[in-house]
Symmetry: C2
Subunit: 217 residues, 2 copies
Amino acid sequence: MEIEVLEGVFDANEIIARENRSLLDGRGAFMLNLMASPGAGKTSFIMKTLEGISGEIKTAVIEGDIAGKVDSERIAATGVQAIQINTGGSCHLEARQVNTALNRLDLEGVQLVIVENVGNLVCPAEFKLGEDLKVMILSVAEGDDKPLKYPLMFSESDVLIVNKIDLIPHTDFDMERLEETVLKMNPSVVIFKVSCRTGEGLDAWTAWLKKRVRSGA
Amino acid sequence: MEIEVLEGVFDANEIIARENRSLLDGRGAFMLNLMASPGAGKTSFIMKTLEGISGEIKTAVIEGDIAGKVDSERIAATGVQAIQINTGGSCHLEARQVNTALNRLDLEGVQLVIVENVGNLVCPAEFKLGEDLKVMILSVAEGDDKPLKYPLMFSESDVLIVNKIDLIPHTDFDMERLEETVLKMNPSVVIFKVSCRTGEGLDAWTAWLKKRVRSGA
């Protein structure tokens, strides 16, 4: 009984996700769904990404949070178009909310839409938004054992960003063990190791992203 | 429509939470619901807590995870009774699952049941399990701005454990700002600052917990 209700929710969500997809395709825009635990560094990562593609890829940002608008204000302060979704308690974004946001944004000339999902390693992985790319961030401070505990997120993501690598010397984090575990679950995942604090590794990521956005695939 | 379905879920959950409560009351046992983001250090914190109360408070542990049994195996290796709940995709524990676990455990003489919830700062705060105490962990690496983004968790918790304080010198974490924000939202919250890595601050926490368990309140 409960499972049937859930399937209904997912079906309805998927129909709107497909609408989002064709809305974006019609404009030649690329959408990235960014997911992570609370505090893994999603907003800082977006800020650094915007810096790295500034003047080359016209971008808009959709911020998802339970409450507040601190993140969208941080983005908007850089001159990039940003819109805030407050889920009011819900632990993930749904396609319907992203649809509303897409329709409110001025998408004229926009090549890339970055969606920052609610901080959660579980449910966001289950809800398609119509994105081209699922990107997840794991912070070094969370530990290298997370893939086994949150398998869906790690197996669904196209890109894994390992953030806060400047903290590695102060933790027991084992990068080899992480990579081995993740690649077993998701052999095609692309991994970038970065520190949004020191800037390390971000150039490789933004170069890769620019290529993907331009190829439209 | 959706909200009504949710209310139904919460009502049904609350009835079973009350059953758990009376099952524990009948045995004079205390239950602690431990919540945090993935990687905040829940399992390490439980291990350190068990060390600190060993030989004084007879304890059993209920481990909640989406998948896997690494955590319950770690606990059981110390000789403490442990049981694993796999939610199979669900992002929080519900009272019904804890009820099943309580009925499988040998509660003879057990004074304290520690429940490790699924790693998530959102939904676990909404589901009562029949606990005496809601304890949440925030890792320093997650940042001091989390209370405003995940307000329910911070306002519902009786105790806030700030973990990984050994990382403070390597981050921009501002303890004063955190305390100010949290105490505004939740003036009665008790805050402990600890590092499960160095052991700092754990004595104060275990001393406080022993007193609470013995007073049964």
